[in-house]
Point group: C2
Chain length 212, copies 2
């Protein structure tokens, strides 16, 4: 493995600070004890170099020598592959982590993103689409609640899948979206109480604050 | 490898037929030339056995001996791992496929699902959230358009990432959502012109029709 380089924006406005997706990668690298360096790409003016590394002009991406990886789910799976602290070596263990990585983004985040967009707008309960998106998100939370009533972490031991799922849930949690789902809330609290999350979060806040 | 078993619903109403996500797995298995058997789970009344295999009470799941996998993205990655027709063996090749698997669900489908929900409702242009979701989806399509202007398939050769991305785009395409993005439309047309897609699609239609 070469020196790991995490690329994120040089600056973002205040509201998303603490929620920019580089936090998922910082968190995993801190959990794994892997050293890394942070580089930046302009938030304003996303040019050809950015698109070559991240075709949707988002962040983050991770480079390891001549390997450059985008999509936080793919990066987390890669880190899980180089650190058995975050993904088991067995086929069954790896599959278990992988299905929950996809579930975090494709079964939960696909419902939590529209919910959070509406919940953060004025008077969400009267938005015409509220019933649809609130219903979908709450139905997914209800399923997850059943799972989390019976386990501490999604795939046996703590893994990159928990980093992704907990981070996906942090945004709706910040708008009160988990209040009727105590096991989901406790899961997010348990995950974010880990020292590696605290370090990753403080580092992201400090990174963007330094650019003000 | 044991006998592969794909589980889907025993029946669904007419509108989603041809779009139920088991088609992704059927398509990949047809491309790979892997034999499989189809089993069913009740569409009405999703019980404990269903939740044990798919915690969100969705379909499909795939079993291979004592391995049971949910989430279509995770299943496709698994099939890619057992068939080098659908994912290269090299680390760089596997990472390339993996980042596009996650991009399909987390960067494109997260935008196409709200867009398709609104586009299929009456008078979508006057829905208060139309500008938000139309803007997000079109911005993602515009990025993908740039990528697809320069390549036939997303990760070099045809792979499971193309099965996932093309299937994600089929739904908005059916509502005219790709009409301003000719490279995206041509990509979906090229992918769905493959004999393995035609077989998978016909098999899904026949499966649900037989239960009427």
């Amino acid at each position: 493995m070469s020196e790991l380089i995490l690329t994120t924006y040089d600056w973002v406005p205040r509201p998303p600070r603490g929620f920019v997706r580089d936090i998922r990668v910082r968190w995993a690298l801190e959990e794994a004890g892997l050293p890394y360096r942070v580089e930046t790409t302009p938030f304003r003016g996303r040019g050809a170099r950015h698109l070559a590394c991240q075709p949707f002009a988002q962040v983050p991406w991770l480079t390891d020598g001549d390997l450059s990886i985008f999509e936080s789910g793919a990066i987390l799976q890669y880190i899980g592959g180089v650190s058995d602290a975050l993904m088991p070596l067995s086929l069954h263990g790896r599959i278990g982590v992988t299905e929950w990585l996809f579930a975090a983004v494709n079964s939960v985040e696909i419902a939590s993103v529209p919910w959070s967009a509406l919940a953060s707008s004025p008077d969400p309960g009267n938005a015409p689409d509220w019933a649809r998106w609130n219903g979908l998100f709450k139905s997914r939370l209800q399923r997850l609640e059943t799972v989390l009533a019976d386990c501490e972490w999604l795939a046996g031991a703590f893994s990159v899948a928990d980093i992704l799922m907990a981070d996906v849930l942090r945004l709706p949690d910040s708008f009160g979206g988990l209040k009727d789902h105590p096991y989901c809330r406790a899961y997010v609290a348990r995950a974010t109480a880990r020292p590696a999350f605290a370090k990753a979060h403080a580092d992201q806040i400090a990174h963007f604050a330094a650019a003000d």
